[in-house]
Symmetry: C2
Subunit: 266 residues, 2 copies
Amino acid sequence: MTFSGFRRLTIIGTGNVAWTLGDAFRQAGYVICEVFGRDKSKAAELAQWLGANVANSLTGLSADSDLYILAVSDDAIQLISSGMPDVSGMVVHTSATVPLEVLSRRFIRSGVLYPLQTLSRYRKIDLSDVPFLLEAANEGQLLLLSDFAGSISSQLIHANTETRIKYHLAAVFACNFVNHLYTVASSYLMDQGLQSALLEPLMRETTAKALEKGSINSQTGPALRGDQQTIKKHLDMLQMLPEQQKLYEQISLMIQNFHIKTNEQL
Amino acid sequence: MTFSGFRRLTIIGTGNVAWTLGDAFRQAGYVICEVFGRDKSKAAELAQWLGANVANSLTGLSADSDLYILAVSDDAIQLISSGMPDVSGMVVHTSATVPLEVLSRRFIRSGVLYPLQTLSRYRKIDLSDVPFLLEAANEGQLLLLSDFAGSISSQLIHANTETRIKYHLAAVFACNFVNHLYTVASSYLMDQGLQSALLEPLMRETTAKALEKGSINSQTGPALRGDQQTIKKHLDMLQMLPEQQKLYEQISLMIQNFHIKTNEQL
């Protein structure tokens, strides 16, 4: 492996992103020197896992790391970065929505390292194809950051804040909202005393098909067929669930509008 | 392998379900004697694939099959079944929404064989864990049909018409609507000149995580965190896309309502 000039890392934060990135970079050969978290016991737990020290305070952070990764909630980035000592290492955050400027007006070297993926401490996933959206204060720093991120992923995208937020918005639809549709479907079946597990092969295949053929070519169902009788029947069945009923009506209409328009363009 | 008492099959219909089931049962050792389709060239193509004869007319269908599978659109089941000759073999349809009675008032032996899966002629999938929802006119016929479906799947569920429609409604959310959310996300990125392919690892992981931990435990995102600033930013970005904006607002609200309620119940 090659090193990016970075070698010693500090992790700030103890959530899912901190655990996942900390672990990945440790395995890629970097030394995690210090961990800081507002919750001391969580910080100790992560530090132990990473073979790092626990920083007792923000102001007391060791100033000799090459890179500081702020894997904290969007709201906390401003506050935490202003509480940090002046450091000469690069300081990056992992947020989709926080502008680079929050860091670049405070530190000599700064950047953004945003993984376009849903990460969980307890779910180990392969990061090698996860897109990392990178931004840095200048070209040289971007090269350093790319080299660093390239040690865990081969999907590196240079994206400014505006572009990063667009990817995040799309991700909300493709991840957060998709997940809630799974919840709507499985909750409905459970409330009816039926087996939500029966949906599993369908969930798997729906996503596999969309990945293979593209979702536009994979659309099926009553809305696409214009099967008004089934749509009406389903809406009747949802009469006691007004939110779900409204959602059913709206997405059905969107499917019809989208595919009519798409077909007209062919 | 064991036979279900059925041995010779007739397939009526030439769409995705006809191709998938015809092929699966042929591979399971059944003999497909005849194929009928309103489109003669499509019927010939499927018949050739299955090593079957083409029936020239509905009324001219051979009466010596053990099982007739009506894999046609919901609207066509009534019409086609009334045009068939009187047969002593079992006649089943593959529709979620059409009641068994449409067949049982016409034939001595009848049933429903509904696969809870999105099927495509050009996408070969493993049917062995696909739930087949079965219904038949009486207990003996249900046993025969179960034995038959058991030759291609190990997930057999006895479900009457009312229950079958409920599973179908849930499937519309977990498959058709999920697929459209993928379309919303990828179309948005393409319209912005960005790379929709970057969403692929996220789509894969979102579904894998929901399958492993359950979707209720997998929910993440601005709506769940109550991150109003990001929600507002995203809604602003969707100002020129009123359908998507409305959908974003509505699912975000549903996520918040669902998880507040769920947490209160804990």
